[in-house]
Symmetry: C2
Subunit: 461 residues, 2 copies
């Protein structure tokens, strides 16, 4: 109040909380916060870099009083516009970067929200543990961002997504109060599950400052990594389906189409075989022989086993670097993220090709074959309205296919602003209208003044 009475501006008032060196108000500095990784953009008013819950609490009180929205930001690797908002206060969580405790008896780790996932895993590996979820951006993305986005990754086929690995949270709420959600225990039945409500809430319900995450011992069974290629997608799709029916559990089951392989080879001067369908597979040693026989039955063209750690890394990199390679192919990329029942994989891949041909778009496609989560990358020319319109048409057509066959328009990237309308379509089509009403009610109850990342996601749906 006194700040306002004194006629203090927003940046000045925030400076009194975190110190002027941790307030970014110049346009040049704010440029870092203007975009997400898919180039959704909106200019914030100011960015702040707090280092304590108390500071976040005070920032939220200022925001509520001044009616300025707040967006918490980790590495900004959202692909849906979830971390950009016109005129907002961006809370950059970079300084919450400490691993507070690794508990090797109870198999959990206590971390601040700004810790980078790969840094966490590096620390855990020393003790023989790991944290399974591995979004493609794990080299920069943060624990808090991955929780807010409910992120997935390649290992999810075996280990599930962020949803399966968070035990407890510290959260600053819209009213500026701080609360613990859940307990750092393998089992806890006290109260409704607010932890899972936060996972995938995209910064709209509270700001996570700290988390207890489950960890696992590094696998003791040796894994075999291999590249398997096919001349066509229907064969690859049928092979994947049969692996599942024969109850063969892969640790990695990624796929890339020819355009993706071409992009990778061109961007990184690699020489991966340029063939219609490539699978990257990790299997426990005893499963390799039965799996190879299934691949062969379905006409696999080549198998290449990684013979050492270095080669295994090289195989992995073709997939993990693919999005970067693809992004270089055009001025615009609309990355899609549907998940469909696995038995629809071949059909869906055929549809992508058909849509691309019909709308004259290049759509390199890759994704997580083992859990039906596919990422077509719809390329377009940002300067050409016709090309942009065609990309939007393709995007919506692919999403609507997923809705029609009982899939979801987003497996791991979330909703943000990109998919709010499609989310509504999906929920209506799948009998979830009341669920959507309840979600909107939850948002209002957690954030009655609309301070936290407002106007997106369930509010926009």
């Amino acid at each position: 109040m006194s700040a306002r009475a004194a006629g203090m501006g927003l940046s000045e008032e925030l400076s009194t909380i975190v110190g002027p060196e941790y307030v970014v108000k110049e346009e040049a500095g704010l440029e870092d916060y203007r975009k997400d990784m898919a180039d959704y953009e909106a200019m914030p008013s100011v960015a702040v870099l707090p280092s304590t819950e108390e500071e976040i609490s005070r920032i939220l009180k200022v925001a509520a009083r001044r009616k300025v929205p707040v967006v918490a930001r980790g590495a900004g690797t959202s692909l849906t516009g979830a971390v950009v908002l016109e005129g907002a206060i961006i809370i950059d969580m970079k300084r919450f970067n400490r691993i507070l405790a690794v508990d090797s008896v109870n198999w959990h780790v206590r971390v601040q929200a700004g810790v980078v996932l790969d840094d966490l895993n590096e620390a855990l590996h020393k003790d023989g543990f790991f944290f399974p979820p591995d979004p493609a951006s794990s080299f920069i993305c943060t624990v808090g961002g991955a929780i807010a986005e409910g992120s997935g990754g390649m290992r999810c086929v075996r280990y599930g997504t962020m949803r399966d690995w968070v035990l407890a949270l510290r959260v600053v709420l819209a009213n500026g109060r701080t609360s613990s959600f859940g307990e750092p225990l393998a089992k806890n039945r006290v109260g409704y599950d607010l932890v899972h409500l936060m996972i995938g809430s995209e910064g709209t319900l509270g700001i996570v400052t700290e988390a207890y995450l489950k960890i696992l011992p590094l696998p003791s069974v040796p894994l075999v990594r291999m590249l398997v290629t096919f001349d066509d997608w229907p064969s690859a799709g049928r092979a994947i389906q049969e692996l599942r029916q024969r109850r063969i559990r892969a640790n990695l089951m990624e796929f890339m189409d020819l355009e993706t392989i071409l992009a990778v080879n061109a961007a990184f001067q690699t020489d991966f075989e340029e063939v219609e369908a490539t699978l990257l597979v990790d299997l426990e040693e005893p499963l390799v022989t039965p799996a190879e026989s299934i691949f062969r039955d379905h006409g696999a063209r080549t198998f290449t086993r990684a013979t050492n750690e270095e080669e295994a890394e090289r195989f992995y990199s073709v997939r993990s670097h693919a999005y970067l390679a693809i992004k270089g192919l055009a001025s615009g990329v609309q990355i899609e993220d549907v998940t469909i029942p696995i038995d629809r994989l071949a059909e869906y891949l055929a549809l992508i090709k058909e849509v691309g041909t019909r709308l004259r778009l290049r759509i390199p496609t890759l994704g997580h074959a083992g859990d039906g989560n596919v990422h077509p990358a719809i390329l377009f020319d940002r300067e050409d309205p016709a090309s942009r319109a065609a990309a939007t048409t393709a995007f919506e057509e692919l999403c609507r296919y997923a809705i029609r066959v009982g899939g979801t328009v987003t497996g791991e990237h979330g909703v943000g602003v990109q998919k709010a309308a499609l989310m509504r379509e999906q929920m209506r089509a799948h009998g979830g209208e009341e669920a959507l009403r309840l979600m909107k009610g939850i948002k209002r109850m957690f954030d009655p003044k609309g301070v936290l990342n407002p106007g997106k996601y369930v509010e926009l749906a």
Copy 2:
């Protein structure tokens, strides 16, 4: 409205919905619904056995109009008073007993809420799959009850609780409308996670009619089952702690004290070794040797490996039948369910013995050593007020210890009426006051008229 205008009674009106043969109104019939498994009791007004969502929807509308509370009931195996309520309409879910589809490609099963867990597993085994959560009551308890209670069990040390195995739900809400929550897909990021909000909500947010559950291939690695005994608890506790630190992942890690073994031997004419501390352990074959060496280092007295399927079953039964054997020892049993950090196990077991001696109570103790979830069974004489009071004192003292050391008052049994006050104590002590406020808000939003199992759990806390 017309029913009311016609002066129709509650039972009569419900008869028009489900048919008179599916309405129970006589006291003799209602006796089946008067108690839960821990003998919490309250007389309902009427019980109904609907067979469709539409019928449940109509029942809820009648309940709201007449201001009569509703409690959905599976097998009634709650241990906390969650399924009994004075004057309520009990919705017995028995007729929702169909397994609708086993999907061997997408690894999930679609089931109605009244399916018994063991029946589900029997059906899945035929296809080479299983559903991991295995509460001790799995021979009678239902999918819907296990979801409402967020149940655990013995395999949870490896596979987690119900929380980790539900993909999507069909729910009838307090307003009588039906909705789907979630999607039957390995990955789905559309909307807030209402599925997990339902898991462990104890019938207070909606009535689950159908669920998609994840399933897994039966383990392909052979498991070795063994009984390991120790002369004292501190040694057993240290052995368990070291197994964890050495990253040995057990598939089963149960424990029983001497009183439990004595009760089992007496009740079932078995001859298990009568020693202070007994562990029931399942390990993958390659882990047996390193584990045995750790047990030996900590002074294990005997190891007995099961040499065949029958013996393995016999070992398992000592633990699975233990609660029944213990229940026979006294007219009253207060079963406790704290979860504590695993490194507190030996300390907690010592406290139980000390409390028992001091208050002159027998407290046979068993539980899930591998995840710190302990079940002291506080025996008392129901007819003796002093004995009942002592049991309550012991119960609260044990819960408060858990709160003090960062544990939870309930790992898997839930809150019901038994632990509402202790739940509040725990949340206050652990910085969760705002979380409790939000939970109460969620309850009001889902059930503004207080129809669904009102006056318990978060409302009572």
